[in-house]
Amino acid sequence: MTSTRAITLNALSLYGLALLLTAAFAAQFALHELPCPLCLLQRILFATLAIGPILNIRFGPRPSHYAASLLAAVAGAVVSTRKVLLHIMPGDAGYGSALLGYHYYTWALLGFIAAIVLLAGLLLFDRQFEDDTTHPTAPSGFAQGAVWLVIGLTVLNVASTLLECGFAACADNPTVYELLKH
């Protein structure tokens, strides 16, 4: 796999992450389900996952960039597992509503595991690292769009989290936006 193809795949992964962050927003606003602290941390780690692809697009593919994303994915999987275990006992209705039979934190765990597998798969292709990455070519519009989309969605998360938690610690089971309370 050439460096150019790897960069395209990295841009595609950013669009995937953007889709995921948008779906989380859709659930939050359409179903009026506010994310819990661990749910917010999972979102943060999905956003952190995007830093590796951004570095790959800007500076060319390097193993250290993939390693950065791998560490974020492992941390995300740990947080998601913790959330799953909190609601694993029979009779526990779980937190929030389910999508296709699974709660969002279960989907998040599957997403982080998929990211680990995909990142390991991408690391198998050595040729992408052999190209000259000291003078990478300018990113395509496709890649630039992916980067700005993910950055924009992360900025929106800053705003929504500020509305939800206000300037204090976030509630364990939030039901209202703290800054919109009368």
Binding site: A47, M89, A168, C170
Partner: protein
């Protein structure tokens, strides 16, 4: 509040990765990841209701 700060920090790291220097981006990334782990450990205090 800490989650807002973390989202803001991730945004800054993304912008540095996209516009700034690579070493600075990697350093900030490491700081954010450590902050995430610390936040997780701070919140993961409830006893898991598991029985084995």
């Amino acid at each position: 509040m800490e989650f807002t700060a973390l989202f803001l920090a991730v945004t800054i790291v993304m912008l540095v990765a996209w516009r700034g220097s690579r070493p600075l981006a990697l350093m900030l990334y490491a700081a954010v990841l450590i902050a995430c782990v610390a936040t997780y450990l701070h919140h993961a205090t409830d006893t898991l209701k598991l029985s084995f």
